[in-house]
Every structure is written in structure tokens, then in C-alpha cells.
């Protein structure tokens, strides 16, 4: 009896130790973000004190409105939203079309094409960055949203791969029945298959949201007039103009992070699933 209790105590002790370690690491991960929010709610006098104040007293909300006074963040927000929406739409439709083709239909050269697509994922984007810039300059797309949105409508290899895995997991019976009824491939894809891979589509949508929202190099290269800036580029310009105004910088950064965190909390399952799928199946 005594030995049993002892073993139990050791077990509980171990569990507590684990939680303490996990929490300590969690704190390391979380504190920088809290520090950002905390700084964004301070005056300079509250910022430059030692030891630091975690909960500002008083809380300075004014910093947030001041950011809007110095830079048109609402406009940046709108621009980002347009690009993000088009990217999600384009990526989901085109990638699922291509993925269905690779998963279910046969044609000469299919395996080679699929291999080319997979290996193109390994290429550093720097290889095609320069010629692509030249191309978009030549056709007058610089300083428009086209370079950032149009390519999304032509499929993304990673998402095509992911959706293909999903399509392949669906039993063929449904399609066969539809085919006997004389359904066209496009109708099978749209009415039968697409609804069945909704969870995977959601994952694709969430990741293309994240990538488009966070993209910096694209907007940096192609958006030149301040009216067309996205949040990422607007934030960088804001940094160059208000380099030492930490409260304003942190307020602006917090505003850029919040939408991502909101989407993350609503779509946690898709995030986790997406990472796991791309991580394990590749």
C-alpha cells in the first residue's frame, strides 16, 4: 500500500515537473508578444524604466489612433484584403482543379508532369525572381496588384499536392455512378468531389491567407506608390520614418498581427492539419 502511494507521488511529481517545463518554454514563446502589446500602450517615459512595467499605468490607447494619423493604415488594410481575397480565391479554385486532374484522370506524360511540379517546389524563388520582374515590368504590371494576384490563379504546387492526396483518398464508387449517368468531368469535380474535400480546401485557404498576408518581398518589388502599399510594406516604411518611436511601432505591429491571430484561433484545426499533412506526406 505504501509503495503504491509512493509510486503515485512520483508520478504526480513528474507530471508537475513536465508542466513547469512546458510553461516555462511557453512563457518564452509568449512574452515577446505580450511585451509588444505592453509597449504599444505606454508613453516614452513608461517605456524607458528599469525594472520594466508589464501592465502600463496609465494605459495609453492614444498610440493606436496616432498610428492612423501618421500613416494610412486603413488603406493598407484594404489593399492587403483585396490581394488576400483574390489570392485565396485563385489558389483554391486552380489548385483543386489541377489536383483533381492529377488524382483521377489519365493522360500521356502525367507522371513526368507531376514530377516536374514536385521538383519545382525545391527551386529557390530567387531563380525566377529577376526574369519575372523583367516580365512584369515589360507588360506594365509594376505598381498594380496583378503580379501579386494573377499567378495565384495558376495553381500552387504545394497545395496541388496536398489536395491530390485528399482526392485520392475518396472512394471511386460515387464518381463511377455519376459517370454512368453521363456526368461530365467538370460536373463530377464541382458537384461531387469538391464538397468532399472541403476540409482540405479550408486548409489551403487558411495557408494562402497567411502567406498572402505576410508576404513582404512581392509587395516590396511590385508596389511602388504609397497608395498601393500592403500592411507589410506600409509597416516597413513606417519603421524607416519612426525608427525610435517604440510605442507607435509596437502599436502598428500589433495591428498587423491581430488579424492573423484571429484567423488562427478560428481555423486552428486547419492550420495544424495543413502542417501535419505537408510535413508527413512529402
Amino acid at each position: 500500500m505504501n509503495r503504491f502511494r509512493k509510486a503515485n507521488l512520483v508520478k504526480i511529481g513528474k507530471q508537475i515537473l513536465r508542466h513547469l517545463t512546458l510553461m516555462a518554454v511557453g512563457a518564452v514563446f509568449l512574452l515577446p508578444l505580450l511585451w509588444m502589446v505592453s509597449t504599444s500602450l505606454k508613453t516614452n517615459r513608461q517605456i524607458f524604466v528599469y525594472p520594466p512595467q508589464w501592465i502600463p499605468n496609465p494605459v495609453i490607447w492614444r498610440n493606436y489612433s496616432e498610428v492612423f494619423y501618421y500613416a494610412p493604415f486603413l488603406l493598407y488594410f484594404r489593399n492587403t484584403l483585396i490581394i488576400v481575397t483574390l489570392t485565396i480565391l485563385g489558389t483554391s479554385i486552380s489548385s483543386s482543379l489541377v489536383a483533381y486532374g492529377f488524382a483521377r484522370l489519365n493522360g500521356p506524360g502525367k507522371n513526368i508532369l507531376f514530377l516536374i511540379m514536385l521538383s519545382s517546389m525545391m527551386l529557390p524563388y530567387m531563380v525566377w525572381m529577376v526574369p519575372l520582374y523583367v516580365l512584369f515590368t515589360r507588360i506594365g504590371w509594376v505598381d498594380t496588384f496583378y503580379p501579386l494576384t494573377v499567378p495565384a490563379f495558376f495553381g500552387n504546387p504545394l497545395y496541388i499536392f496536398l489536395l491530390r492526396q485528399f482526392f485520392m483518398g475518396i472512394p471511386r464508387d460515387l464518381e463511377d455512378a455519376a459517370k454512368i449517368d453521363g456526368c461530365s468531368y467538370l460536373r463530377i469535380y464541382w458537384q461531387i468531389m469538391l464538397p468532399l474535400v472541403k476540409p482540405a480546401l479550408a486548409t489551403v485557404a487558411v495557408f494562402s491567407f497567411l502567406n498572402a498576408w505576410n508576404d513582404f518581398l512581392g509587395p516590396l518589388l511590385y508596389l511602388q506608390s504609397p497608395d498601393s502599399y500592403t500592411i507589410a510594406v506600409g509597416l516597413q516604411v513606417f519603421l524607416t520614418q519612426h525608427g525610435a518611436d517604440w510605442a507607435l511601432l509596437m502599436a502598428a505591429s500589433t495591428m498587423a498581427v491581430i488579424p492573423v491571430i484571429i484567423v488562427f484561433f478560428f481555423a486552428q484545426k486547419q492550420f495544424i492539419q495543413g502542417i501535419v499533412l505537408t510535413g508527413l506526406k512529402s
Binding site: 517545463t21 511540379m117 519575372l132 512529402s282
Partner: protein
């Protein structure tokens, strides 16, 4: 018979129809530009005039360019430290999380959160965290009696600072490793327990071998990603101090868009591609010795 070949032809037509977005996109936005890039790399091209063929001139010039080797060194430095540290760190976290602790979802969320912070916001936040006098990191160090370095203003500490920042965003690897760990069949552990294997033995003989494919995957993708590190350095240090954070992609970007040396930049991109290709091939070769497939 004829009917069947007709059907096959119809299917092939449909196949090409469905994948045509990718084919067109690949030709216009990837494949075509790649060929153009190979050509540009053999020319002197400033975007203002038409390309002028100079053979391997850009490549020989690169090998005599001290900043090219500096940027290569910086990038390797970053990769060599960040990727192994990131893998070890996230693997250990995943092991901890896999111990049937309560609140797994909450921990997972917290660890993953930093990795979705947009790169620009992240960089600005870290400039502030790494501020020598008032930043959180040196404040914490001061509390335990250490006077922290100047981080981004120090030639020695600027790269470690960016590595530290990257390690903060390693959450997606934690999730990948955790999923891998959850895929290890429970029976293996049960059998080992019956045989009286210690925790350590179980780790080295069951967990680690079964996790090698996952480690291999993170290694490959991690190295490819690390060799292209760009945004942090562009925003936080712009390559400084004294070129200590002039990473390969940053120098390539400068050549292309600040100096308009498009041919030179294209040559740099091709060298990077060859480096990645060689490293990946070597890793696949080596993988036969240590990656365990069931």
C-alpha cells in the same frame, strides 16, 4: 475496342484541361523565367538596355567578389546553427508535449503562435526586444547579472541574434514532430516495457529510429529555407553592421534592384540553386545510412 480508345482520348483531353492552369502558370511564371534567368546570367543586363552576352563573365566576377563570399559565409553560418538547433529544440518540445500531459492543445497553440507573426511585424518587434539598453532580452539578462551584448549593433552578435529570433518561430516544426511522435505505434512501447527497457533505451531504439523520416524532412526543407533567409536581415540590419548579416538573398536582391545588375543577380541565383541541389543530393545519399523506413 475503338470505343475504349475514344474514351481514353476523351479522358486525356479532360486531364490536360484540368491541369492546364498549372501548365500555363508554370510556363509563364516559373519554367519560362527559369530559362530566361539562365540566359540573363550569361549577359550584362541593366534593365534599361537590352541584355549583352558576356559568356561566363558574371560567374568569374562573382568568384572574385569579396562580398559574394561574405554573403555565402553568413548564409552558411546561419544555416549551420539555425537548422540543427531548431530541429533539436522542436524535437525536445514535441517529446515533452507527447508525454500525455493535460492541456496539450493550449501548449501547442502557444508554441505555434510566434511562427504566424508576419515577418515585418516580427522584425520590428525583435529590433525592440534586442535593443541593447531597454530591450526585453538584455533586461532579463541584467536581472540575472549578465550585461547583454549590443546584438544587432555588434558584428559578432548580429547573426546569433537573427538565429535566436528564428528559433522563436520554430513552432511549425514542433507540430510536425508531435504528429510524427503520435504516429509511433503504442505496441512498440508496450513490448519494450515488457522486456524491461529503460526510458532512454526506448527513446534510442524505438522513438528515434521511427522519427528519422520526419527529421530528414525538416532537415531538407529547413536547409532550403535557411539558405534563402532574407526579410529579417533586410528590415532589421540591412546587412550590417560591417556586412555581418549580408545574407546571400539580400546581396542578390541588392545587385538586382539597387544596382540593376540583373545578369549578375541571375548568376547568383543559379549558384544558389546548384548549392541547394548538391546539398539535397548529398542528404538523400546520406539518408540511406540513417533514415529508417518501415
Amino acid at each position: 475496342m475503338r470505343n475504349r480508345s475514344l474514351l481514353a482520348r476523351r479522358e486525356a483531353l479532360a486531364f490536360y484541361g484540368f491541369i492546364s492552369p498549372w501548365i500555363i502558370g508554370f510556363i509563364c511564371f516559373t519554367g519560362g523565367p527559369i530559362i530566361a534567368s539562365l540566359y540573363f546570367s550569361l549577359t550584362n543586363y541593366t534593365l534599361l538596355s537590352s541584355p549583352h552576352y558576356i559568356g561566363l563573365g558574371n560567374y568569374t566576377a562573382l568568384f572574385n567578389d569579396p562580398l559574394f563570399s561574405t554573403s555565402l559565409y553568413n548564409t552558411f553560418y546561419y544555416t549551420v546553427f539555425f537548422v540543427p538547433l531548431g530541429i533539436i529544440f522542436s524535437f525536445m518540445l514535441a517529446l515533452l508535449l507527447n508525454q500525455k500531459v493535460g492541456g496539450l492543445a493550449a501548449y501547442r497553440t502557444v508554441y505555434y503562435l510566434p511562427s504566424i507573426v508576419p515577418a515585418v511585424a516580427n522584425s520590428i518587434l525583435w529590433i525592440w526586444l534586442l535593443n541593447p539598453q531597454w530591450g526585453l532580452i538584455n533586461t532579463v539578462l541584467r536581472m540575472v547579472g549578465i550585461e547583454g551584448p549590443g546584438w544587432l549593433t555588434s558584428e559578432v552578435w548580429s547573426k546569433p541574434a537573427i538565429i535566436l529570433m528564428s528559433l522563436w518561430g520554430v513552432g511549425s516544426w514542433v507540430i510536425i514532430f508531435l504528429a510524427g511522435l503520435q504516429g509511433v505505434p503504442e505496441q512498440y512501447y508496450e513490448a519494450a516495457e515488457v522486456d524491461g527497457a529503460t526510458t532512454l533505451a526506448r527513446f534510442f531504439h524505438i522513438t528515434l529510429p521511427l522519427m528519422t523520416p520526419t527529421i530528414f524532412f525538416t532537415l531538407i526543407t529547413g536547409i532550403i529555407g535557411a539558405l534563402q533567409v532574407f526579410t529579417q536581415a533586410y528590415i532589421m540590419t540591412n546587412g550590417g553592421p560591417v556586412n555581418s548579416t549580408l545574407f546571400y538573398s539580400l546581396y542578390l536582391f541588392r545587385n538586382a534592384f539597387n544596382y540593376l545588375k540583373m545578369g549578375y543577380a541571375a548568376a547568383m541565383a543559379w549558384i544558389l540553386f546548384v548549392i541547394i541541389l548538391i546539398l539535397t543530393i548529398i542528404q538523400f545519399r546520406l539518408a540511406q545510412r540513417w533514415v529508417f523506413y518501415e
